[in-house]
Amino acid sequence: MFRDLSFSVENGKALCVEGANGAGKTSLLRVLAGFVSPMAGDIHLQIDGGKISDPEQRGDFVGWLGHQDAVKPQMSVREVLQFYAALYGSGGAIDSALDAAGLTRLSDLPGQYLSAGQKKRVSLARLLVCKRPLWLMDEPLASLDTAGKKIAAGLIEAHCAAGGIAVVATHEALGIDCERLAL
């Protein structure tokens, strides 16, 4: 898929991974998340002077936004977010996450009635609720409208400003200050 790839991202920075279809953006994110082990080489997470190389341990820091939106047709938006807040034990505030993603009006609507863009917003709200420092985002702008794209970019910017890291695979310009990696 790719070789001779080396990069590092610091606290408070966003990295945009760019590349043509099939270049391996999603695969790179799955490797970073620890779902797939690289054929060669390793990945480290440096936290408070300690170094984490175990993929499962690394997973405990990852906030994941994938192609699919992890929204259940039978569950309302609020229930989905409540579930992940409880599962992650993060105590993330649901109402403020709903508000930040522009979902307040839809909070009691079951997932089956949501459009693709609205589901993407739920994914963004889920990242806020899960409160993980390393965001791995696969095409976060896909199917979002102009306002949604602005919200997504704003959330990434705020996350980085608060000391978080975002690695974003994207075709479109995020419109924020970020480092670039071309595959």
Binding site: S37, D60, G63, D69, A70, Q74, F83, Y84, L87, C130
Partner: protein, 218 residues
Amino acid sequence: MTALILRDVRLAARAGGSAMLALAFFAAVATLVPLGVGADLRLLARIAGGVLWVAAMLAALLALDRLFQADFEDGSLDVIALGPLSLEQTSFAKIAAHWLTTGLPLTILSPLLAVLFGLPSQAIGALFLSLLIGTPAVSAIGAIGAGLTLSIRRGGLILPLIVLPLLSPAVIFGAGTVLSALDGLRNGALPLLTAFSFAACVLSPFATAAAVRLNLGS
């Protein structure tokens, strides 16, 4: 872990969920057999344990293929896997939720259906007890099959082929429990069923997690 169990129970109970489906299937099969076999009550009582055990197992299998697949397809499994629960704990929660929504209701319904077979009351008690103890093994071993087939389209068709042979001890000991109660013999099958079920529930989360991990990495 409670959050995951509660969510799965809630999903199974809602529209499109599998809980009622399994119950209805179990009731339909158990009603059809006496109609097919005829009104020989002694024969019906002898086959009741086996028929109800097989019907309960098939009913529980109906919902099994979606155990991980639904979460895999909509991306939930990725997010759950990155959560604080290990995949072993996740598998255990899924097994528990599956049992609560299929095995337990089937067990509770079974005495009612046993009446259709003319089972005497001491054998009905044995049937209830054997299902209560044995159905967790069905969920646990079924979960291994569900983990292995989660990324396969129409994996539900292969799943019974993997799972049913592994579950034959449960049917043998489960139906055996009912038969020995019917004959008034000392019950040797129930301790074996208990041991089988216990071993399945303890070991399965590890095997299931390994299967799921394999599929997440592909």
